[in-house]
Protein backbone atom coordinates (compact mmCIF):
# COMPACT_ATOMS: atom_id res chain seq x y z
CA UNK A 1 0.00 0.00 0.00
CA UNK A 2 1.26 3.43 -0.91
CA UNK A 3 0.91 6.11 1.72
CA UNK A 4 1.28 9.79 1.04
CA UNK A 5 1.81 12.33 3.79
CA UNK A 6 -0.23 14.98 2.00
CA UNK A 7 -3.50 13.11 1.56
CA UNK A 8 -6.23 13.77 4.06
CA UNK A 9 -6.74 10.37 5.60
CA UNK A 10 -3.33 8.74 5.14
CA UNK A 11 -5.11 6.02 3.15
CA UNK A 12 -7.10 5.88 -0.06
CA UNK A 13 -9.98 4.03 1.59
CA UNK A 14 -10.37 6.70 4.26
CA UNK A 15 -10.18 9.45 1.61
CA UNK A 16 -12.83 7.61 -0.39
CA UNK A 17 -15.10 7.56 2.68
CA UNK A 18 -14.52 11.28 3.37
CA UNK A 19 -15.31 12.05 -0.27
CA UNK A 20 -18.61 10.11 -0.16
CA UNK A 21 -19.88 11.29 3.23
CA UNK A 22 -19.11 14.94 2.40
CA UNK A 23 -20.68 14.45 -1.05
CA UNK A 24 -24.02 13.48 0.53
CA UNK A 25 -23.96 16.58 2.77
CA UNK A 26 -23.04 18.86 -0.15
CA UNK A 27 -25.70 17.34 -2.42
CA UNK A 28 -28.43 17.65 0.24
CA UNK A 29 -27.51 21.27 0.96
CA UNK A 30 -27.41 22.18 -2.73
CA UNK A 31 -30.78 20.57 -3.41
CA UNK A 32 -32.30 22.19 -0.31
CA UNK A 33 -31.06 25.67 -1.17
CA UNK A 34 -32.11 25.37 -4.83
CA UNK A 35 -35.52 24.11 -3.67
CA UNK A 36 -35.83 27.05 -1.27
CA UNK A 37 -34.98 29.57 -3.99
CA UNK A 38 -37.43 28.00 -6.43
CA UNK A 39 -40.37 27.70 -4.02
CA UNK A 40 -39.97 30.85 -1.90
CA UNK A 41 -40.21 34.48 -2.82
CA UNK A 42 -36.63 35.34 -1.91
CA UNK A 43 -36.42 38.77 -0.32
CA UNK A 44 -34.39 40.10 2.59
CA UNK A 45 -36.98 38.93 5.18
CA UNK A 46 -37.22 35.31 3.99
CA UNK A 47 -33.49 35.09 3.25
CA UNK A 48 -32.30 36.41 6.62
CA UNK A 49 -35.00 34.39 8.41
CA UNK A 50 -33.64 31.21 6.83
CA UNK A 51 -30.07 32.01 7.86
CA UNK A 52 -31.30 33.11 11.28
CA UNK A 53 -32.47 29.59 12.11
CA UNK A 54 -29.96 27.75 14.29
CA UNK A 55 -30.49 24.42 12.50
CA UNK A 56 -29.80 26.05 9.14
CA UNK A 57 -26.64 27.74 10.45
CA UNK A 58 -25.45 24.35 11.70
CA UNK A 59 -26.39 22.75 8.35
CA UNK A 60 -24.52 25.54 6.52
CA UNK A 61 -21.41 25.16 8.66
CA UNK A 62 -21.51 21.37 8.25
CA UNK A 63 -21.66 21.96 4.48
CA UNK A 64 -18.74 24.37 4.59
CA UNK A 65 -16.58 21.89 6.53
CA UNK A 66 -17.66 19.12 4.14
CA UNK A 67 -16.68 21.40 1.27
CA UNK A 68 -13.22 21.82 2.79
CA UNK A 69 -12.70 18.07 3.19
CA UNK A 70 -14.25 17.27 -0.21
CA UNK A 71 -12.19 19.90 -2.01
CA UNK A 72 -9.03 18.77 -0.26
CA UNK A 73 -9.43 15.15 -1.39
CA UNK A 74 -10.45 16.25 -4.89
CA UNK A 75 -7.74 18.85 -5.38
CA UNK A 76 -5.15 16.53 -3.83
CA UNK A 77 -6.06 13.91 -6.43
CA UNK A 78 -5.94 16.41 -9.30
CA UNK A 79 -2.65 18.01 -8.19
CA UNK A 80 -0.91 14.66 -7.64
CA UNK A 81 -2.04 13.60 -11.12
CA UNK A 82 -0.92 16.66 -13.04
CA UNK A 83 1.81 18.46 -11.07
CA UNK A 84 4.82 16.20 -11.04
CA UNK A 85 7.37 18.63 -9.55
CA UNK A 86 7.25 18.04 -5.79
CA UNK A 87 7.97 21.60 -4.64
CA UNK A 88 5.39 23.16 -6.96
CA UNK A 89 2.79 20.53 -6.10
CA UNK A 90 3.34 21.11 -2.39
CA UNK A 91 2.99 24.88 -2.86
CA UNK A 92 -0.24 24.53 -4.85
CA UNK A 93 -1.65 22.11 -2.28
CA UNK A 94 -0.67 24.45 0.54
CA UNK A 95 -2.37 27.36 -1.26
CA UNK A 96 -5.54 25.26 -1.72
CA UNK A 97 -5.47 24.33 1.97
CA UNK A 98 -5.10 27.98 2.95
CA UNK A 99 -8.05 29.00 0.74
CA UNK A 100 -10.21 26.26 2.29
CA UNK A 101 -9.29 27.42 5.79
CA UNK A 102 -10.22 30.98 4.84
CA UNK A 103 -13.57 29.76 3.44
CA UNK A 104 -14.44 27.95 6.67
CA UNK A 105 -13.47 30.83 8.99
CA UNK A 106 -15.11 33.43 6.71
CA UNK A 107 -18.23 31.25 6.64
CA UNK A 108 -18.34 31.09 10.45
CA UNK A 109 -18.05 34.88 10.55
CA UNK A 110 -20.92 35.28 8.04
CA UNK A 111 -23.18 32.70 9.71
CA UNK A 112 -22.68 33.72 13.31
CA UNK A 113 -21.78 37.35 12.67
CA UNK A 114 -18.80 37.36 15.03
Amino acid sequence: MVNSVTNLGRSGVYDWMVQRVSAYVLALYTLFLLGFMLTTDVNYESWSALFGQTWFRIFSLMTLISLGAHAWVGLWTVTTDYIKATALRFLVQAACGAVMFVYVVWGIKILWGL
Binding site: T30, Y44, S48, V78, V99, Y103, W106, G107
Partner: protein, 124 residues
Amino acid sequence: MNKQRPVNLDLSKFHFPLPAITSILHRISGIIIFVGVAFLLCGLDMSLSGEEGFNQVSELLDGFLAKLIIWGILSALLYHLVAGIKHLIMDMGIGETLPGGRLAAKITLVVSIVLIVLAGVWIW
Protein backbone atom coordinates in the same frame (compact mmCIF):
# COMPACT_ATOMS: atom_id res chain seq x y z
CA MET B 1 12.05 -4.67 -26.26
CA ASN B 2 10.11 -5.79 -29.30
CA LYS B 3 11.06 -3.35 -32.06
CA GLN B 4 8.15 -4.50 -34.21
CA ARG B 5 5.45 -3.22 -31.89
CA PRO B 6 3.04 -0.74 -33.47
CA VAL B 7 3.71 2.86 -32.63
CA ASN B 8 1.09 5.55 -33.03
CA LEU B 9 1.98 8.89 -31.57
CA ASP B 10 -0.29 10.90 -33.84
CA LEU B 11 -2.21 12.66 -31.10
CA SER B 12 -4.89 13.86 -33.51
CA LYS B 13 -5.83 10.24 -34.06
CA PHE B 14 -6.40 9.56 -30.39
CA HIS B 15 -9.81 10.35 -29.04
CA PHE B 16 -11.17 10.20 -25.54
CA PRO B 17 -14.07 7.85 -24.90
CA LEU B 18 -17.17 9.56 -23.48
CA PRO B 19 -16.61 8.33 -19.87
CA ALA B 20 -13.15 9.93 -19.96
CA ILE B 21 -14.66 13.23 -21.08
CA THR B 22 -17.27 13.16 -18.29
CA SER B 23 -14.48 12.36 -15.82
CA ILE B 24 -12.29 15.29 -16.86
CA LEU B 25 -15.33 17.59 -16.82
CA HIS B 26 -16.01 16.42 -13.27
CA ARG B 27 -12.51 17.55 -12.32
CA ILE B 28 -12.73 20.87 -14.16
CA SER B 29 -16.17 21.65 -12.70
CA GLY B 30 -14.81 20.85 -9.23
CA ILE B 31 -12.03 23.40 -9.64
CA ILE B 32 -14.51 26.01 -10.97
CA ILE B 33 -16.74 25.47 -7.91
CA PHE B 34 -13.73 25.77 -5.59
CA VAL B 35 -12.94 29.20 -7.07
CA GLY B 36 -16.63 30.12 -7.36
CA VAL B 37 -17.26 29.61 -3.65
CA ALA B 38 -15.31 32.85 -3.04
CA PHE B 39 -17.89 34.76 -5.13
CA LEU B 40 -20.80 32.95 -3.45
CA LEU B 41 -19.49 33.64 0.07
CA CYS B 42 -18.92 37.26 -0.90
CA GLY B 43 -22.54 37.50 -2.08
CA LEU B 44 -23.81 35.71 1.04
CA ASP B 45 -21.81 38.06 3.28
CA MET B 46 -23.28 41.13 1.55
CA SER B 47 -26.83 39.75 1.38
CA LEU B 48 -26.92 38.98 5.12
CA SER B 49 -25.25 42.24 6.21
CA GLY B 50 -28.60 44.03 6.11
CA GLU B 51 -31.45 45.04 3.82
CA GLU B 52 -29.17 47.50 2.03
CA GLY B 53 -26.58 44.80 1.35
CA PHE B 54 -29.26 42.42 0.14
CA ASN B 55 -30.56 44.99 -2.34
CA GLN B 56 -26.99 45.64 -3.50
CA VAL B 57 -26.52 41.95 -4.33
CA SER B 58 -29.93 41.98 -6.00
CA GLU B 59 -28.93 44.94 -8.19
CA LEU B 60 -25.57 43.38 -8.92
CA LEU B 61 -27.29 40.21 -10.12
CA ASP B 62 -29.31 42.25 -12.64
CA GLY B 63 -26.11 42.90 -14.58
CA PHE B 64 -25.24 40.73 -17.56
CA LEU B 65 -21.70 39.89 -16.40
CA ALA B 66 -22.86 38.89 -12.91
CA LYS B 67 -25.60 36.71 -14.42
CA LEU B 68 -23.01 35.08 -16.65
CA ILE B 69 -20.68 34.38 -13.69
CA ILE B 70 -23.54 32.95 -11.61
CA TRP B 71 -24.69 30.81 -14.55
CA GLY B 72 -21.12 29.55 -14.97
CA ILE B 73 -20.78 28.61 -11.31
CA LEU B 74 -24.27 27.07 -11.30
CA SER B 75 -23.47 25.08 -14.46
CA ALA B 76 -20.31 23.68 -12.88
CA LEU B 77 -22.24 22.90 -9.69
CA LEU B 78 -25.08 21.15 -11.54
CA TYR B 79 -22.69 19.11 -13.67
CA HIS B 80 -20.57 18.17 -10.65
CA LEU B 81 -23.74 17.20 -8.75
CA VAL B 82 -25.10 15.00 -11.56
CA ALA B 83 -21.72 13.33 -12.19
CA GLY B 84 -21.29 12.89 -8.42
CA ILE B 85 -24.70 11.22 -8.08
CA LYS B 86 -23.62 8.90 -10.91
CA HIS B 87 -20.60 7.93 -8.79
CA LEU B 88 -22.81 7.29 -5.75
CA ILE B 89 -25.11 5.07 -7.85
CA MET B 90 -22.08 3.21 -9.23
CA ASP B 91 -20.88 2.69 -5.62
CA MET B 92 -24.03 0.64 -5.14
CA GLY B 93 -22.82 -1.67 -7.90
CA ILE B 94 -25.10 -0.30 -10.62
CA GLY B 95 -23.63 0.29 -14.09
CA GLU B 96 -20.13 -0.97 -13.37
CA THR B 97 -19.73 -2.74 -16.73
CA LEU B 98 -18.19 -1.06 -19.80
CA PRO B 99 -21.57 -0.61 -21.59
CA GLY B 100 -23.04 0.51 -18.24
CA GLY B 101 -20.29 3.10 -17.82
CA ARG B 102 -20.81 4.41 -21.35
CA LEU B 103 -24.56 4.67 -20.85
CA ALA B 104 -24.07 6.39 -17.48
CA ALA B 105 -21.72 8.91 -19.13
CA LYS B 106 -24.36 9.66 -21.79
CA ILE B 107 -27.08 10.07 -19.18
CA THR B 108 -24.81 12.34 -17.10
CA LEU B 109 -24.17 14.63 -20.08
CA VAL B 110 -27.79 14.78 -21.25
CA VAL B 111 -29.26 15.38 -17.77
CA SER B 112 -26.71 18.05 -16.91
CA ILE B 113 -27.12 19.86 -20.25
CA VAL B 114 -30.89 19.98 -19.70
CA LEU B 115 -30.38 21.29 -16.13
CA ILE B 116 -27.81 23.87 -17.27
CA VAL B 117 -30.18 25.19 -19.95
CA LEU B 118 -33.03 25.34 -17.39
CA ALA B 119 -30.71 27.20 -14.99
CA GLY B 120 -29.95 29.70 -17.77
CA VAL B 121 -33.68 30.24 -18.34
CA TRP B 122 -34.18 30.68 -14.58
CA ILE B 123 -31.42 33.28 -14.29
CA TRP B 124 -32.52 35.38 -17.28
